[in-house]
């Protein structure tokens, strides 16, 4: 058995790959459901019904997909340049803190100005916190994987401190949560009687924007070049440090916007349960999309549907909703294997 490089990859293979990976995840996941003593078919039907079975279910899936599109884009942009930003979770909370800081009464402007301001503030906050690992990497050669991961814990503790201290809402009956975002800052819902809000439109626009930037601009070209071959890029005259900085601005900013979208759209206020790991799931989203910004939309919706469906399923059938995390983790690993098959092929024999 040998591994040979493919000259060109058939397009159908790239398109089918994510679906195949999720399929593999469902097959392996079936064993976990059997372990719980339930029928996988019944469980998966309940999962599909819970995520796509009604208009409400679909809007729930889409509203769960919203933060995942942002964090998925954040991971996709960074990973393209081989900058391993695993800190989207922390950057998300930074965005949420920025939105809370200026959105709970500090300024009050008409919604068409207020909402973009919140997003910009969140993006800036996400960028700024990611600048720490970036500068440590570019100037001191500190590995960004560990710094971005560790900062997640620092930021969560910081949010915790604010919520138990100065930001604690006295109206919240003792719950550690911040004051509500003022009316002009709240993202309006776009489907009646649902929680689906304006955030998803922003997320879609950002996907298209990131695609255009990566595809048509010099920045995008440099980001992709640095990811492919650092030495060649340096030779060509691309500054690695500048590209990494650029990536960080995009990646941290996008993750920060996820926080704004959750605070001002879904929850209405900042809590410690704002994100059940959207930052980490974003990595799976990006990998399933094979780091393509438009693909991120589709894979985010897919994974969100799994989470929403699993929640619904765990209410009717006695299976812990952690099954969703298992399915997502297996999809991530199997798409990784699959992606290799698009670049190489396995030749049997000599």
């Amino acid at each position: 058995m040998r591994i040979k490089t493919r000259r060109n990859t058939p397009v159908w293979l790239i398109a089918v790959l994510p679906l195949l990976s999720i399929g593999v995840a469902f097959i392996i996941g079936a064993f976990f459901i059997l372990w719980a003593g339930e029928s996988p078919i019944r469980a998966y039907l309940a999962l599909i019904k819970g995520s796509l079975g009604s208009t409400f279910a679909i809007t729930e899936s889409l509203s769960r997909a919203t933060p995942l599109i942002f964090t998925g884009l954040a991971a996709a942009v960074a990973f393209r340049a081989k900058f391993w930003n695993i800190g989207a979770e922390g950057q998300l909370y930074c965005g949420a803190m920025a939105a809370t800081l200026i959105g709970t009464g500090m300024i009050d402007l008409p919604a068409p100005i207020m909402i973009p301001m919140l997003f910009i503030a969140g993006a800036i906050a996400g960028c700024l916190i990611l600048l720490v690992p970036v500068v440590l990497k570019t100037h001191m050669k500190v590995d960004e994987v560990v710094t971005t991961l560790l900062l997640n814990f620092v930021i969560l503790l910081f949010v915790n401190m604010l919520l138990e201290g100065p930001w604690k809402d006295p109206m919240a009956m003792g719950w550690p949560q911040a004051a509500r975002i003022i009316d002009n800052g709240v993202l309006p819902t776009i489907v009646a009687k649902s929680r689906l809000h304006l955030g998803i439109i922003v997320a879609l626009l950002m996907s298209i924007l990131m695609w255009a930037i990566l595809r048509f601009t010099v920045w995008g070209y440099e980001i992709r070049a640095v990811g492919h071959n650092q030495q060649a890029s340096t030779f060509y005259g691309i500054s690695i440090n500048k590209s990494v900085l650029m990536v960080a601005l995009f990646s941290g900013g996008l993750a920060g916007m996820a926080g704004v979208s959750e605070v001002a759209g879904l929850k209405g206020y900042l809590t410690l349960t704002l994100s059940p790991g959207f930052g980490y799931t974003g990595i799976a989203v990006a990998m399933l999309a094979q780091l393509h910004p438009i693909g991120v939309i589709i894979s985010a919706i897919f994974l969100a549907a799994i989470y929403v469906g699993a929640d619904a399923m765990s209410r009717t059938i006695d299976i812990p909703n952690y099954i969703a995390d298992i399915l997502v983790a297996i999809s991530l690993l199997s798409v990784l294997v699959g992606a290799m098959l698009t670049r190489y092929r396995i030749v049997w024999g000599k």
């Binding site: 590995d143 814990f153 995390d325």
Partner: protein
Amino acid sequence: MMELFEMMLTTSLWAAVIRIATPLIFATLGELICERAGVLNLGIEGIMTIGAMAGWLWVYQGGDLWGGIVFAAIVGMIFGFIHSMLVVYLGLSQHVSGIGITLLASSISYYAYTLLIPFSTTPPKIVPFSAFEVPILSSIPVLGQALFHQSALTYLSYILVIITFFVLYKMPIGLTIRMAGENPVANEAQGINVLLIRTGAVMVGSALMAIGGAFLTMSAFDAFYFGMINGRGWICIALVIFASWRPGKAFLGAILFALFEALQVRAQLIGADVIPYQIFSMMPYFLSILAMMLVARKAAYPKALLIPFRQGDRI
């Protein structure tokens, strides 16, 4: 300041330091072995989680304590095996695969725990390892009681530091492992199967990580909590870099880190009225980042770390 100095001389502080350091010693040695063979294992956080869960569950279901440790180690090995299949044999991104392993192992831990343990407000408990005194050695003033009145797992961690050092530096297999991380082509020229060596190192390393996790549920505490690893795995990755991939330094690094952690916990109690406790809790993470900043410039990463090896490759 005097108060701090006096505290440094108490046995209870140093006993706490050793208790905090033990899981870090196991997991740091585990990561060190993986990286020495050229494989970054970001699965560490998840493998520690599932080790903590598996070992605890074994005892909760009626098994004995050492059986639980063996079970945790085997479960850790299985995840190490999956990781090496992906990154050693298929040559996939070690970063992404590692994160995937962490997500998978921790979600399986939580799934299994929720499935098997009926919901209750107080998590069910086991009878953990009890401490026992090593004769003679435990009568050394201050440090004797701290170092040698601990659970058997802690003694195992001391022994493992010595074994790891001995194997890596004094035995042929150690040279082979280190070469797999520095210059795998030279390994192959000797007719050694690099892929097998790397897989073995990752599996052994992962077993140690899992035991590190199991120490938390079976010795430091007596129950499994969600999110109980709380970034310890990532801290160990920083410790490996801080220790410049040397077992002895890894041990000292873990102790030093644990000292700050123990002081931090005590400072929380003293300073609670003035400074929010979260500020103190952040310190371990800052400290890890600081430790990496100190050594980053001259850090001598194993040269073949992160680089997949394919049989027949020439550089």
